[in-house]
């Protein structure tokens, strides 16, 4: 599904991602873990062609990410998802629906479906300026789910949310995982990742320290948090 081959990204003299290679298979729930500045968001931005890699290749479904067709079946939720303040939630979702080629009754039904999925029914006619951060994240997730994408890329989707908001988002992602949707989750919240994902990679200073099945990484009487700190301490 996703293939990164010797990908490096430099910002001037700083190397944000250093020769990273890995493959994410279809249907996997993959977590990118790492402290701030590890290069997780840079990888997500390269997956969406928001920035170009300095070297290496990235493909999604065999298509290079520079090809807009590679994003045809992707849903994306940004960290601190922003919605134009002059749009209502309904208008925002309708715009996304039109961008993926849905129109008329089909678009209306699809928007209605995702509004239910992200617990935003009844709130969709309010301007997004009136939404709380959690509501914006859920609406962003709703937009990402339009058209039943094959791949969902979530960049720190629960950052800044209260415990209820985190639980809501987690429930949504768990439901998607159960439907065998490929999920790439970029997160700091290791306890949430442990509940949601089956595979994880730990990054530090642009390099991947380990990538494996979470059950294989986490030994007996350990948590993912223990493993994470062990790898980061060893890498320092």
């Amino acid at each position: 599904m996703i293939n990164l081959d010797s990908v490096t990204k430099k910002f001037g003299a700083h190397t944000a991602v250093d020769n990273v290679s890995y493959t994410i298979k279809k249907g996997a729930s993959f977590a990118l873990l790492g402290p701030n500045g590890a290069g997780k968001t840079t990888i997500v931005r390269m997956l969406l062609d928001f920035i170009k890699p300095s070297s290496g290749n990235i493909t999604i479904n065999g298509l290079p990410v520079s090809d807009p067709a590679s994003r045809r079946h992707i849903g994306y939720v940004a960290e601190q998802h922003r919605i134009p303040p002059y749009l209502s939630g309904l208008e925002y979702l309708s715009r996304h629906a039109s961008l993926i080629g849905l129109s008329g009754e089909e678009a209306g039904n699809e928007v209605d479906r995702v509004l239910g999925m992200v617990f935003m029914k009844g709130q969709e006619r309010k301007k997004s300026a009136a939404y709380s951060r959690g509501m914006k994240q859920r609406m962003g997730l709703g937009a990402a789910l339009l058209g039943k994408p094959e791949l969902l890329i979530l960049d720190e989707p629960v950052t800044g949310l209260d415990p209820i908001g985190i639980r809501d988002v987690r429930k949504i992602i768990e439901a998607l995982r159960d439907k065998k949707m490929t999920v790439v989750l970029n997160s700091h919240l290791l306890s949430e990742v442990e509940k949601i994902c089956d595979t994880a990679a730990i990054m530090y200073k642009g390099k991947i320290l380990i990538k494996d099945n979470i059950n294989a990484i986490v030994k007996d009487h350990e948590t993912l948090e223990d493993v994470f700190f062990r790898y980061i301490e060893n890498a320092k």
Binding site: L48, I51, R72, R82, Y86, L99, I100
Partner: protein, 258 residues
């Protein structure tokens, strides 16, 4: 186009324009006397309409500056650019969509103002000013140039500075082309015959001909002669610059990190 209509600045300018048109309307009602003789009302209406035509276009230059200078920065801040580019929208489609959308809005806006004047003259004097609406479309090419120029520059500098820079560029063209028009006018030619032989410098010939296009629009209304500078028609000059700027803008935006 609809996004631009959601911003307050659009409605402030719309309100000011309506106020301006309502004030101008009174000019067509009065009777004019020069040196004790009544002046033909139709002639006055024609001259007033021509002046208002240029005032509207000048006002539109300010309006497009205000609308264009924040297109990309605002889209970046409010997440619109991520909305489009995280889908299978190609970057050139996004750039072209934003520029042409703003232009289409301004074209309609300007056309409505010009049409209002056109209809007012018709109702008040029974005269149709031929070429008035065609000239409006010609002026809209200049608006496209201004929008493209400001949007392109705003990729490298703050929007307000890019708008000021573009206005400065228009002002230089106004002085250069306006001076050329004056030196080639019938009055100056008759008074100073040697002015006919003055050849403009190459940079003046190649400079974006926004003012010349305005002068060309004027000739469409007045059926006068356009004293064009150099071998190229000003419209051709402006089309070339619009194409060049659009190519550079798409190229620069393709390299931009989101």
């Amino acid at each position: 186009m609809l996004d631009q209509m959601r911003h307050k600045s659009f409605y402030v300018l719309l309100g000011l324009s309506i106020l301006f048109i309502l004030m101008i309307r009174g000019c067509y009602d009065g009777e004019y006397m020069v040196n004790g003789r009544m002046v033909d009302n139709t002639a006055v209406a024609w001259h007033v309409s021509k002046i208002v035509f240029h005032l509207i276009t000048a006002g539109m230059f300010l309006m497009v500056s205000m609308l264009s200078m924040k297109i990309f920065s605002r889209d970046h801040e409010d997440g619109s650019v991520v909305l489009f580019l995280s889908r299978s929208v190609v970057r050139w489609q996004y750039v072209l969509g934003r520029v042409t959308g703003t232009w289409a809005l301004c074209l309609v806006f300007m056309f409505i103002l010009h049409l209002t004047i056109f209809l007012t003259v018709w109702v008040k004097t029974g005269t149709l000013i031929s070429g008035y609406l065609t000239a409006s479309f010609v002026c809209s090419i200049s608006l496209f140039f201004v929008i493209a120029c400001i949007c392109f520059l705003s990729l490298f500098m703050p929007g307000f500075i890019s708008a000021l820079f573009t206005m400065g560029m228009l002002f230089v063209g106004f002085i250069s082309d306006g001076g050329y028009q004056i030196f080639n006018s019938d009055i100056v030619r008759a008074a100073v015959p040697s002015s006919i032989n003055l050849e403009p410098a190459l940079w003046r010939v190649l400079y974006p001909k926004v003012f010349m296009v305005q002068a060309y629009a004027d000739t469409i209304i007045s059926k006068g002669e356009l004293h064009k500078m150099g071998p190229f028609h000003p419209l051709l000059n402006l089309f070339f610059f619009i194409f060049l700027i659009m190519v550079l803008m798409v190229n620069a935006f393709n390299r931009k990190e989101i």
